[in-house]
């Protein structure tokens, strides 16, 4: 399971992040599309950026799986909570 | 001194008390099983000189059994309970013909608004009385709960009904009183230092009596 990793090109990641941010701004304030579409796309971009940071800057991509699990545990819990609390308003 | 559930004052009392009894039996069995078992072991296996404990790491069959039985019981209990839950508090559980009464809670009193003679809330002939809830027996009632300040809770033990009254939310709860008589409406959610005395009287009257009372009260209110 010990695989050799090459160090990623951090500058490239940085360029990605900058571009995605620019895209978000344009999307949010220039693009004439429906609110919900914007919401969906923006969230998608945000998650994408977050993933870039987590995987490459925080090296999750190169960590052993049990450390990744550790990092992921809270997320389902948070989602369960939000889903439940929001269901208040959709009934 | 009473030691069982209060008088069955509404149509909910039947199923709820039944469920309570069912759970009492289930848990009673579990309770006896465990406690008797413990006491038995405590005496049967207490230390004796020169005796060594029986060396075992467990028994899968036994464990499967005492995992499966509770699992099945609990799921069954869940299904039964849910059936009644949906009837009592489910989204559209309120019967269409239910008689509306407005209940406004504030520190530390209940303001009961009656629909007047036209039987509709929000019309001119509505009138409000403090701390006195009159309801006709044998007819579904829907209370429109609203709160002025803190969270209160609408609770009539004999009706087995309880519903929190939350500021900023309009919550409807329904029930159908069955036994004429006077009861107490208690606030059962801590709402401040007067919480303990936030109580109203509940008069369950036969439909005729209720009509009569309503007329009188309506007149007094208009004067």
């Amino acid at each position: 399971m010990e695989t050799a990793h090459k160090r990623p090109n951090y500058i490239l990641i940085w360029v990605y992040l900058a571009l995605l941010t620019a895209a978000e701004l344009g999307l949010a304030f220039q693009l004439p599309i429906s609110r919900n579409w914007k919401l969906a796309l923006l969230l998608f971009l945000a998650v994408w950026k977050a993933l870039l940071v987590a995987l490459f800057f925080m090296h999750l991509k190169f960590e052993r799986w049990n450390l990744r699990i550790m990092a992921l545990i809270p997320i389902p819990l948070a989602l369960i909570f939000m889903a439940a609390a929001m269901s208040e308003h959709i009934w | 001194m009473p030691w069982w559930l209060p008088l069955k004052g509404s149509t909910f009392a039947g199923p709820i008390d039944g469920l309570f009894l069912a759970i009492l039996i289930i848990t009673g069995i579990a309770f006896v099983l465990v406690e008797v078992g413990l006491v038995w072991f405590v005496f049967a296996y207490r230390q004796r000189p020169g005796r060594k404990a029986f060396y075992t790491h467990g028994n899968t069959r036994a464990e499967v059994i005492w995992t499966a039985i509770p699992a099945v019981t609990m799921v069954a209990l869940g299904l039964v309970s849910n059936h009644y839950w949906v009837e009592i508090k489910g989204r559209n559980s309120v019967p269409p013909n239910a008689y509306p009464i407005g209940v406004h809670a504030k520190q530390f009193e209940w303001q009961i608004t009656y629909p007047g003679l036209d039987g509709k809330l929000g019309t001119a002939d509505d009138f409000t009385i403090r701390n006195q809830l009159h309801v006709p027996a044998g007819r579904p009632i829907v209370v429109h709960l609203s709160s002025e300040d803190a969270i209160h809770s609408f609770y009539v033990p004999q009706f087995r009904i309880r519903q929190d009254v939350v500021p900023g939310m309009d919550i409807k709860a329904w029930f159908q009183a069955t036994v004429p008589g006077t009861y107490e409406l208690a606030c059962s959610q801590l709402c401040g230092l007067g919480h303990y005395r936030m109580r109203a009287q509940v008069f369950v009257q036969s439909p005729e009596d209720y009509e009569a009372w309503l007329k009188r009260a309506a007149q007094e209110a208009t004067q």
Binding site: E88 | V42, A71, G78, Q107
Partner: protein, 588 residues
């Protein structure tokens, strides 16, 4: 024998030349920190008890001047007669102190700190300084909460659940600083628990002795580990909620203010999303330590070790998806209620596994009823009652009737006192020699146990009947209600038993202090326990081990046919044992 070797080394091996301050006050030694937690939280337990006694006086003898109540200021109890506003403070502070500052630190602060390194064979926690910070934060939090009793208008008045808007708006609660101090104290406590938890988790994952595989961990460590995870993930939610509450109180934000679109239910969701994991934080360590005690007292391996572990994990996980069972009648979406009911009921299953496996452990054992064992067995007996009463409330229609009645109060005391506290009354004397080198008095321990057991049941069992009668919680004067008047004799009875219960606790109090100086000096392994900690002298030296021990088997090898005596320490190497695969040794 390796045992002796290891200890003699440890004994001479480490002479530590730390100043008194470093050694006992600002110590980074996990054992000292554990002991600090012990003293502080026992003090808060006492405080909680004293508050409870005042409540019981008012409930038993409403409006009558309380003996000795004269010393209280007129804002609380003029002439010793407790005022409504003071009663609410009593309830709130009783719950808060008992949950956050007594039981939680007693179980986690004391025993996670004290036991984890000792039982897994580590020199200390992974981050000793963070560990110290965690204690002092908890201490500060406790002081703030205590101080709130003495500010003008007294302490918080919104119950330990702090439901908004009551807790957020002073014009409703009538409190002034009390509410803010509650929030601040809880924020500090949350930070403290997070620091503690991350320490425990890292230590258990990373610093186990060679051969101490996951499935050789004592159940106490397993449960403390899962508890730490619960604490790590639940307390930040509470802190976040408390911060929003604090902002609502002082900055005029509107999170929970319905007038400006805020949501009172949001607070309840946040609080209980923390709150239910919290109650498992309050029981899992107790379950774990009781498992150790029962196996030891029965001189028998734990019955079904693996399923016990899985049960702990299952409870830990299910604890996250049941919080709504506190909100069935709160106006929450009823469909949500249904799903929360089912998940709640399911928790009975892993709990069943634990209960019956404890019994399986005692079955055909060779039971030795030393004080820890007595309390452990009582734990099983009492926790079952509390757990079973939980089933009534889990059933939504029944909960609609018994919610916020004394049925709940009975339930929570059966699980918290009958559960957690009995476990502690077992754990404290069990590891007392490891902490202080002396034994607590066996005789007085037994007297304390029996009296507590009897009075405890006399106090809390009748509360079920009150609850079935519909008696509401947090009621200053039950006689206000006609339908509650007939129950007053029962309240009087409960109160009298409660006073006796409290008095009984002084046996423990005295026993505890007396044994510190005068207790019988403990021999090295007084309980003939298999755990690693008993290979060290009592009390264990700073740094625990000179040479990290090697583990050859699980912790519950009692009455093993392989050896003559009825216990087989984890570190004892039999000819048949192989050395564990060596791992890189800790680098710090």
């Amino acid at each position: 024998m390796t045992t002796v070797a290891a200890t003699s080394q440890a004994a001479h091996g480490q002479h530590d030349d730390r100043s008194f301050l470093r050694k006992y006050i600002f110590s980074t030694d996990h054992k000292i920190i554990g002991i600090q937690f012990l003293f502080v939280s026992l003090f808060f337990l006492l405080v909680g008890g004293i508050l409870a006694m005042q409540m019981r006086w008012q409930l038993g003898f409403p409006g009558k001047p309380m003996p000795g109540g004269g010393i209280l200021p007129d804002t609380m109890a003029p002439g010793g007669v407790i005022l409504p506003e003071y009663y609410i403070q009593l309830v709130t502070m009783h719950g808060t102190f008992m949950i956050f500052f007594a039981i939680m630190p007693l179980l986690v602060g004391v025993y996670a700190n004290f036991l984890i390194p000792l039982k897994i064979g580590a020199h200390d926690m992974a981050f000793p300084r963070i560990n110290m910070a965690s204690f002092w934060l908890a201490f500060a939090a406790g002081l703030v909460m205590l101080a709130s009793l003495f500010v003008p208008d007294g302490a918080s008045r919104a119950g330990w659940t702090q439901y908004v808007p009551l807790s957020a708006r002073h014009d409703l609660s009538g409190a002034s600083y009390g509410q803010e101090l509650w929030s601040i104290s809880i924020i500090l406590l949350g930070l403290s628990s997070i620091l503690g938890s991350l320490n425990y988790i890292t230590t258990v994952i990373n610093n186990r002795a060679p051969g101490m595989t996951w499935f050789r961990l004592p159940l106490s460590i397993w449960s403390l580990f899962i508890t730490a995870i619960l604490g790590l993930l639940a307390l930040p939610v509470l802190s976040g909620a408390a911060i929003m509450l604090l902002f609502d109180q002082v900055l005029g934000t509107h999170f929970f203010d319905p007038g400006a679109g805020g949501q009172p239910l949001l607070w309840q969701h946040l609080f209980w999303f923390f709150g239910h994991p919290e109650v498992y934080i309050l029981i899992l360590p107790a379950m774990g330590m009781v498992s150790d005690l029962i196996a030891n007292g029965s001189r028998k391996p734990i019955f079904g070790y693996h399923s016990m572990v899985f049960a702990i994990v299952a409870i830990g996980f299910l604890g996250w998806i049941v919080w709504g069972h506190h909100m069935f009648v709160s106006g929450m979406n009823p469909t949500l209620g249904s799903s929360f009911m089912v998940s709640t009921l399911i928790i009975a299953v892993p709990s069943a596994v634990k209960t019956f496996n404890w019994m399986g452990t005692m079955w055909r054992g060779n039971l030795q009823f030393h004080v820890p064992m007595l309390n452990a067995v009582a734990f099983v007996a009492m926790f079952v009652i509390g757990g079973l009463s939980g089933i009534y409330m889990a059933a939504t229609p029944v909960d609609m009737f018994i919610h916020d009645t004394y049925f709940i109060v009975a339930h929570l005391h059966y699980v918290l006192f009958g559960g957690s506290l009995f476990a502690l009354f077992g754990a404290i004397p069990y590891w007392y020699p490891k902490m202080f080198g002396r034994m607590m008095s066996e005789r007085w321990g037994k007297v304390h146990f029996w009296l507590t057991f009897v009075f405890y049941n006399l106090v809390f069992f009748p509360m079920h009947i009150l609850g079935m009668g519909g008696a509401m919680r947090r009621i200053y004067d039950p006689t206000q209600y006609d339908f509650l008047k007939p129950y007053q004799p029962l309240n009087v009875f409960i109160s009298i038993c409660a006073f006796l219960l409290f008095a009984t606790q002084f046996i423990f109090f005295v026993n505890f202090w007396w044994s510190l100086r005068r207790g019988k000096v403990a021999d090295q392994n007084p309980w003939h326990d298999n755990g690693l900690e008993w290979t060290l002298p009592n009390p264990a030296p700073h740094g625990n081990w000179t040479r990290v021990p090697t583990v050859y088997r699980g912790p519950y090898e009692y009455s093993s046919p392989e050896v003559a005596e009825d216990y087989l320490p984890q570190t004892r190497k039999l000819p048949t044992d192989r050395e564990p695969a060596s791992a890189p040794v800790a680098g710090h």
